[in-house]
């Protein structure tokens, strides 16, 4: 069944669609993100990872998920 009213969000510069009332935690699970190795920014605000189940994504949200890579 086609879900109506999907909302568009941007994750790490890529546009994706999620169903309404989709939590940030559900997004992390969908993307298989290891929470202890990443940091999350929602609309340029750092998000406490303990709170992600209470945050619901809105149309146009911009999410950045970062981790450590090699660097000098």
């Amino acid at each position: 069944m086609k879900v109506k009213n999907k909302i568009k969000i941007t994750v790490n510069g890529k546009q994706i669609q999620v169903i309404p009332n989709f939590s940030l935690k559900s997004l992390m699970t969908k993307l298989k993100m290891p929470l202890n190795k990443i940091a999350i920014e929602l609309n340029k605000k750092i998000i406490d990872k303990k709170r992600i189940s209470k945050i619901y994504l809105q149309k146009g949200d911009k999410i950045e998920i970062v981790h450590f890579i090699g660097g000098g």
Partner: protein
């Protein structure tokens, strides 16, 4: 002179060699080089996760942050705001407060933009970060950084990745004389003798990435750098002889036939 502990922001470290984790062929090679270097601090960068390749290996899978101190950097940042954003994110990943600030001003020579670097040092220190600062080898700026709350002064030997070795020994010596903060040469080392010279100048440590990662044999070069840093430190502490343009025979004339 007696050896003192290598202490940064009240934390003791065993190795005076800090290594970068960039530019290696693989995470495995990087992990092996770190082991050979004996380093207990490694620099790391903050970047976007690749969301399309969920199973891609991660640095943290190969280098355990419980065993090695991660030193998050601000590579690629050109303003204080970029640097602060990056380090706040780094802190969020796992609570890191000891950080390496690097605010660049030119895409070609990669020299640090010192006005933004100073401003960032002030702002980050106010936020509770312990800031190790990549900087030019200017003694006056080094003093300003110290006054702004930096926990380590890290002047370049030469441009990042250039492998040119220490270009301005006099400046490094002046900075050494004026500061009690850890003085760490960051960037520009090419071979182990460069690392050794840095230590002989009285630096507290050396930070090396490219010279190890891009060597033909990175693991062996990592060990060479480890030995050079130990050697240079011992040489510095031992107190060198005064240089003299004339010779001084090692064998006595007494009893000559």
């Amino acid at each position: 002179m007696l050896e003192k502990k290598f202490k940064i922001a009240n934390k003791n470290f065993k190795s005076r060699l800090i290594v970068g984790t960039g530019k290696y062929k693989s995470f495995r090679e990087c992990a092996d080089a770190i082991k050979a270097s004996g380093a207990d601090i490694v620099t790391v960068a903050v970047r976007r996760v690749n969301i399309s390749d969920k199973n891609k290996a991660r640095l943290m899978d190969y280098i355990d942050p419980k065993k090695i101190t991660y030193l998050p950097n601000t590579a690629g940042c050109f303003t204080a705001e970029d640097a602060i954003r990056t380090l706040r994110l780094a802190r969020e990943i796992g609570g890191w407060k000891l950080v390496k600030l690097e605010v660049l001003g030119d895409k070609n020579n990669l020299f640090p933009e010192m006005i933004e670097t100073l401003r960032s040092t002030e702002l980050l220190t106010k936020e509770g970060f312990k800031v190790m600062v990549y900087c030019t080898d200017d003694p006056l700026m080094a003093k300003r950084l110290e006054n702004a709350g930096a926990v380590a002064i890290m002047p370049l030997a030469a441009p990042i990745g250039s492998g040119l070795g220490i270009q301005n020994k006099v400046n490094i010596k002046i900075i050494r004389k004026q500061t009690k903060l850890p003085l760490i040469i960051d960037a520009g080392i090419g071979q182990s003798s460069d690392a050794c010279i840095a230590m002989e100048l009285g630096c507290d440590g050396v930070l090396i990435n490219t010279a190890i990662a891009k060597a033909k044999n990175p693991i062996q070069m990592a060990e060479a750098m480890k030995l050079a840093v130990i050697s240079g430190r011992k040489s510095f502490l031992s107190g060198r002889i005064s240089p003299n343009i004339f010779g001084s025979a090692s064998t006595t004339k007494k009893g000559i036939i």
